[in-house]
Each structure stands twice: as C-alpha cells, then as structure tokens.
Symmetry: C2
Subunit: 289 residues, 2 copies
C-alpha cells in the first residue's frame, strides 16, 4: 500500500463522510433509523469513487462546476438501504454492521424495513433536487438500473443457498450484487463531469472488474479476519455460495490479482499512472479490513 | 352512483390495467414476484386518476402529446411496493391481498421483501426512461416526495399500535399514509399536461381531501364488508388506530361527506360539473368494496 494514497484517501473520506452524516432524514423514527445506518461510517468507497471520478472533467465542456456531493450521498443511500434490508431476519439475520448494531437490532424490524425503503427512495429525491434536468435524468436512469441489478444479485444470492454450488451462477451474483455498485460511481461521476456514455464505458467496465476483485478479497477476509476489524459478523458466509468455496483460496487470490491488473491498465491509460483509481485498486487488493 | 361514470371507469380501467400487466420486470424470481403483485388487479384508482388528469391539458402549451401511461405504471409500482412491504410479517402479517395470496405467502419473505424494493426502484427507472428531462425531473421529485410521506405515514401507523389513541396524531397518518397517494396522481398528471406548480396546488389539495374521505370509507368497510368483496383480510384494523375508533361511525360518515363535498367544489370549478373527478369522488363515497 502506498502511504501517500492512504493519506489522500483519509482526507477525501473525511469530507465525504461529513457530508453524508449531515444529511437530514426528518424527525420521525424511520428517519432517525435511516440516519443511524447512514452515519455508521465504513470506507465510503462508492461515494468516494464518485467524487474522484467527477474531477475527471470532459475538456470539451466549459464551465462545468457541478457538485458531486449530492450524487455521492444518493449512492450511499442505495448502498445503506441494501445493507439494512440484507441484514433483516428475513434475509441474513445479521446483528452487527459497520461496528454498530444492525438497524433492526437498534430500531426494530418494522422501522428498519421502512428505513431501508426511505433511503432507497430518498436517493432519487436528492438527484432530482440537486442537478440540472438532463444530468438528473441520466443520474436517475443510471442509479435505478444499478439498483435493480443489486436487488437481482441479492435475490440470486439468497436462492443459491438452497442450491448445489455447481448449479449456482456465481458470475451473475458477483457481477450484480457487488460489482454493479462499483461501476455506478464511475458512471455517475463521469455523467457529472460531462462525459457521453461511450467515453464512460471502458472506465465503468474497469470498475466492475475492480468490484469483483473487491468481493473476492472480502470472501477471503470473512475467514481470515475478525469481527472487530471488519465491523460486521464474520463467518457470515457459511450458507453462502462463494468462489472461495467453489475454486479455493489460491484461485481467488489469482483472480483478484488478474482482474485488478486489468482494471489498472485501463485506469493508467485514461486517468494516469498516479491517479486516485490506480492507488485505490492497489489498496483494495492489499487491505486487511 | 352514476352508472355512466361506472361504465366510463370500467373502460379506462381496462386500458390502464392491461398496460400495468404487460410491464416486464425480468425473468428472475424477484421480478416474477413483482409482476405477480402488480398483476393482481384492484381498482387501480391512482394510475387511473393520473391518466385522466393528464388529459386536462394546459391550453397555453401547444403540441403537448406526452403519454401518461408510463407515469401511471410508475405510480402503481410505488403503491404495490407499499402493499407488499406492509403485508410482510414484520408489519401487518397479512395473508390475502387483492383476492390473491399476499406476495410473501406466494414467493417467500425474502423474495417479497426484494420484490417491494424492485418495484420502488423501478418507478424511477420508468420515469427517467420515458419523459423529456425537465418533465422527468419534476415527476421524480414529486413521486419521491410522496413516497417519503407514505413511508413516514406507515411508520407512524405502526408506532400508533403501541400508543393510547389520544396520543396518536391520526391526521398525520391519514394525510401521509393514504391521502398523499391521491394528491400524487393529480400532480403527476398535471405535470405531464404541462401545468406549473401553482395551477396544480388547488386540485392536488382537493385530491388529498378525497383521499382522506377514501380512507374513512375504507375503515367503515373493514367492519361492514367481507373478505370476498374486499379481496383482502377484514377486521385487519384490530390493532390499528383509526378515526372510526376515536370518533365513531357517524363522525366518519359526516367527515367523509364534508371532505368529498369540498373536493367536489374544486373539481367542478376547474374541471367541470360532469368531469371524471366529480364522478369518481361521488362513486368513492358510495362504494361497498
């Protein structure tokens, strides 16, 4: 890990985290539950990526000064909604998340369910209220397409628990449940930065690969790390179907390496050797939490 | 009830219902569960209102030929999501909805939870994909503001179960849980028809009143009607706090009457004596299902 990257990341994280924590979800208990889960911290990877990609301005566009922070908050709303609902007894029945009680453990099942709904919905309110119409529409289309993939991936993951591993389409699960939410911040950041779809595609594809590598590393950490470091229950994957179970530790390490190298080549080509995304990809591969 | 209104309603319903049923949510089980609940029918009040209000074109706007059907489907997605989540064991634990098994009874709790999420999310995809940017942004802002109110109203309704009725803000619950979804189709229809916000306000306020009257009648039907007619469990309101319990049958009938008359005055003024909304308000007051 590059220590100057980590220092830079920490500074960016501080700003993004503080913006996320200051967003108001109202005084009702459902709003408090939403704010509780949004405030619980974490690496804020997805919103951080979005803000950094939004700095990669399209030079053909003059006077592009849109603020990426509202879109970053909207994206974190979607991520947090998916965590709250996945943690519910009907799905994973998890007790710990980001080092704090899971939302339904703190606020009860009904309010946690509705807090997830509130966050999913609020994401679109934020986009509609904070961007010019043409950008808002593209952001809403992008985020809702991604969220649909996340939901379908989560559903496939649940169904996989009842299947033999050879009958499970792990590529579908990894691509949609996890990696879609790495492609989305690249796309949304680049929409804010004024790029057309065709320029976005190669970088979003690279982020999708980085996202799969991220999940492979996560699977390895689930068996090697501990609750305190991860801030969530470990050995949660007992019932889950993973590439680790199917193909083993060495395959996972090599595949994470291969996908990261492919993403790095793309990032270096478009964003430069010392770009944020290059440092991030290297860090995510080597992390221990 | 005016029989020519009912005939007209049946024809409109047929078109709206068929459009809703033909919308594709994908081949995953979560998409099938979403389509199952969307296809279950019902009066389709909210999308029908939207399509009729969209016919009330702003005469200052020429060549306004936007199709209200996608927005009507989006609105029904939100309504159906709220029904699926409310029926879950964590909330109402209902078994029957629109004359069929509740979604979680047919598809299991995890898939029903995710099907609700899918529908809530898909509403915004539909709006972003089917309208010009400025209209799409207004529709997304409107629908997400309404959905937030519905979620907050539902949450207040759940919390009220644990409170003494004198400490419950029933006005808040009725205004948000139910009536907001009557204001929304008027607002969305009129946005599609090219009206500015200030022209929308009086008609949306009338629809909000009509929505409260609708709920008061619903509460009365919960104790007087039967499962077959309603297509959902009756006596579901045992734990719920309602105006019927607080103020009695006569008060509810008079209040539904008073609010309907107020809505009717507004509809007659802007839309005409024989307009759809006039017929609808009268029908909703006299219905027995």
């Amino acid at each position: 890990m590059n220590s100057s990257f980590k220092k830079n990341y920490t500074q960016i994280l501080k700003r993004v985290d503080s913006a996320i924590k200051s967003y108001k979800f109202g005084d009702e208990s459902v709003g408090k539950a939403a704010a509780y889960s949004m405030g619980a911290g974490g690496k804020r990877l997805r919103p951080v990526i979005l803000t950094q990609m939004a700095k990669y301005r399209n030079p053909e566009l003059k006077n592009n000064t849109l603020n990426p922070i509202p879109a970053a908050i909207a994206l974190e709303c979607i991520h947090t909604f998916s965590l709250i609902h996945d943690d519910l007894p009907a799905i994973d029945n998890a007790t710990l998340r980001r080092g704090k009680k899971a939302c339904h453990k703190a606020y009860g099942e009904a309010t946690a369910l509705l807090a997830g709904d509130l966050l999913l919905n609020e994401a679109y309110q934020i986009l509609a209220k904070n961007y010019p119409a043409d950008i808002a529409r593209r952001l809403v289309a992008e985020l809702s397409a991604t969220t649909r993939r996340v939901i379908e991936g989560e559903n496939a993951d649940i169904e996989a628990e009842r299947k033999a591993i050879k009958n499970v389409d792990l590529d579908f699960i990894y691509a949609n449940k996890t990696a879609a939410m790495f492609g989305a911040p690249v796309r949304m950041g680049m929409i804010i930065a004024g790029w057309p779809d065709k320029s976005i595609r190669p970088l979003a594809n690279a982020a999708q690969k980085m996202g799969i590598a991220f999940q492979l590393v996560d699977d390895l950490l689930d068996i090697t790390s501990n609750k305190k470091k991860l801030g969530k229950d470990v050995n949660q994957d007992v019932r889950k179907k993973t590439f680790l179970k199917k193909n083993g530790k060495t395959w996972c390490e090599q595949e994470a390496q291969r996908l990261s190298q492919s993403a790095l080549r793309t990032y270096k080509k478009y964003l430069g050797e010392n770009s944020f995304m290059v440092g991030l990809t290297q860090w995510l591969l080597q992390r221990d939490y």
